[in-house]
Assembly symmetry: C2
């Protein structure tokens, strides 16, 4: 069993971080972050499935697949370095080279990530200056992790971090991470920007396997607006400083690691969904007793992606017809007469649909339950034993406001 602790990317041994104001696009706020490990790391990543991939996605995929190890990640917010052609890739490389020169590490051990407006070129001189500031500022400890988590934010309203410890072979292994949303969030095989660090001793093969398997149930189960970004990147770096017996085969140690990693991924993913652009509520859908896990996931995701359902959640309106409608067009098959729908939140739970028609329930009670900052739809399919949860957020005026004038 894992223990939840404070912190993020600097929670694990040997990791340092920094967040600075580099003036990339925003004024008077941090917009560059660095994560650095004092020892070389085994590294794995998952990336956007969007055909249009940002330059840093192409760069990082190369590193996770072919470099012997990774040792640093440099991130900027404000400009996504996507749809920027050869010039954009060149700027990405120059940023990595600047980090390598300052840290005295190989350039192919430096991952790069960008988030922000698509189509604009990075001010590479300011990026290089920013790298110098970052390297000078990098530190161990909670505060440094906080600054890094703040520097990667775009329209996020809060920074997002999580950390746990887990005992493996008599040693305390720590896993921590940070991520950012909060629009163009509909990860597919990966997520927006997420960075996880651990001091576990683990093989690249198993680290990759653990990450890829877990994102299917965590980051890939969230959506803010259905738009799969060009920049989605989730990286995990393991520097081995916990000195646990190497995790190089599946078994109890690997399972313990996976369970702890799952907590980090799920926690960060939920934070991202709940802080979706303009959101006032985290809106989850839990599908239970489905025929297969795959169908449970399809159903849960269809509900949290429905614009009409999201708007109803914003209005605290128990408009369950839209939920059933979204399940109906999801592509999954089920018997609408057999299923049961309930709403649940900290304020209670209420059955709203049963035997093909509305259950007898009080609209006032339903509205009370839906007025909490976290609300869940529970869909009991009455067909099997599989279950899945997806996380989204409500659709609000502010989502429109933020995105009608994002660039200005």
């Amino acid at each position: 069993m894992y223990q939840i602790i404070d912190g993020g990317v600097t929670a694990a041994k040997g990791f340092e971080a920094a967040g600075v104001e580099a003036g990339i696009k925003y004024k008077n706020r941090k917009d560059m972050a660095l994560v650095y490990s004092r020892k070389p790391c085994v590294c794995a990543g998952t990336f956007t499935s969007n055909l249009v991939k940002a330059a840093p996605v192409i760069w990082d995929r190369e590193i996770t697949e072919h470099s012997p190890y990774a040792q640093a990640v440099v991130v900027n917010s404000g400009i996504a370095n996507a749809c920027t052609g050869k010039q954009g890739y060149e700027y990405c490389r120059q940023t990595a080279e600047a980090v390598a020169a300052e840290l005295l590490v190989p350039v192919d051990s430096v991952c790069v990530a960008s988030t922000g407006v698509i189509g604009m070129q990075l001010p590479v001189d300011r990026m290089v200056e920013g790298v110098k500031l970052l390297v000078a500022a990098k530190q161990e400890g909670l505060e440094a992790g906080n600054r890094a988590a703040e520097a990667i934010m775009t329209t996020d309203t809060i920074s997002k971090q999580a950390a746990v410890t887990v005992e493996i072979g008599g040693k305390t292994v720590t896993i921590g991470g940070m991520c950012k949303g909060s629009g163009m969030i509909h990860p597919n095989m990966c997520t927006m920007l997420g960075f996880i660090t651990t001091d576990a001793v683990i093989s690249k093969e198993l680290l990759t396997k653990a990450l890829r398997a877990d994102v299917q149930d965590t980051f890939n189960m969230i959506s803010v607006d259905g738009d799969t970004s060009t920049n989605d990147t989730l990286l995990i770096l393991a520097n081995g400083m916990a000195e646990n017996p190497p995790i190089d085969a599946e078994g109890a140690d690997y399972d313990a690691f996976c369970e702890a990693l799952h907590y980090i991924n799920e926690t960060l993913a939920k934070k991202m969904a709940g802080d979706g652009e303009g959101a006032t509520a985290l809106f989850a859908t839990r599908v239970i007793h489905a025929k297969t896990k795959e169908e449970a996931k399809i159903l849960a995701k269809s509900v949290i992606c429905s614009s009409l359902t999201k708007a109803a959640i914003y209005g605290h309106d128990a408009n369950w017809g839209r939920i059933l409608c979204a399940m109906g067009y999801s592509g999954a098959t089920f018997d609408p007469e057999a299923i049961e729908l309930s709403f649940e939140s900290a304020a209670g739970r209420i059955l709203i649909f049963k035997d093909g028609v509305a259950a007898e329930y009080s609209e006032e009670e339903a509205t009370r339950i839906l007025s909490e900052p976290e609300v869940t739809v529970i869909a009991d399919m009455k067909e099997g034993t599989a279950s899945a949860t997806a996380w989204g957020c409500d659709l609000t005026y502010d989502y429109v406001k933020i995105n009608a004038d994002y660039r200005s």
Copy 2:
């Protein structure tokens, strides 16, 4: 070649219509409509692909597939009669029976359609009273068609009709139709509610073929919010009163009919998209020089469905990165470096993306072009000869407002 004329479902010979206030759910507005043909009609329909189908969808599919002919369509707005179980189906049947009794036609010649809130039972007594009012009020002519088109509206801000005449074998054939939107619009193999009448003499087989083929390029290419309704229904009734030589084989006459039908379908579909809930603009995407028609459709639809792109259109913001992003996650394959993107409207046309990077264009000019009530993205894929167009609308505060408190 067809000629555009005024009118809707009463444009073709022998069709009468009515729209009345029956107090189904709304107060002080028309909420029931009737379309009646003095002669029995060949009938075809396409319906929602949503697994959760409203009672009238099940009823109408039975009629279009198995009845010898159809002669009337009765429609109510306010309540969708979806997710209403056996009781809902019984109310649908009772409504059809009331129409049959008043018009002295077989019950299996009466189509039924409903639109509005899901999950609420119809007040069947008021429906039956409404049927009596409708039959007493039914008339030929433009005004009667207008009243019917108004009665089927829910959140629509304008009624939607179109009509044309076309010469077939020396006879003037008329086709007219009406439809309604304007939320939960993402037709799949069919549309929200659409009703087309014609006096053409045409076989059921070819009428069905013509309708099913054309909806693929018209109603199935629009989206307001990505939510495929439980009630989507498109019906066409042909009563043969134009006395043209029967269209019972493919050839010039069938082609002329299809061309005229296409105008009606496309016009109604565009009206539906442009009057999407809360919309301030019709937002079209035309994909040209694609490898295949299928890919062109996937790309066009992905762009008009992107929440981020829709919000940018609302803000008159030339945020083309979101367009490229939506094309990238559509599932279609293409070379992002090769394509060209332009914006077009009544105010002009401007190239915005070429050779993998932003073209040199004036943001002011782009904003001027995007400030028109109809704006089009043109994506030139530079790969082949296929093309497709999809129509949607912008995403606005009012979409959220309408759907956060729709039921209250």
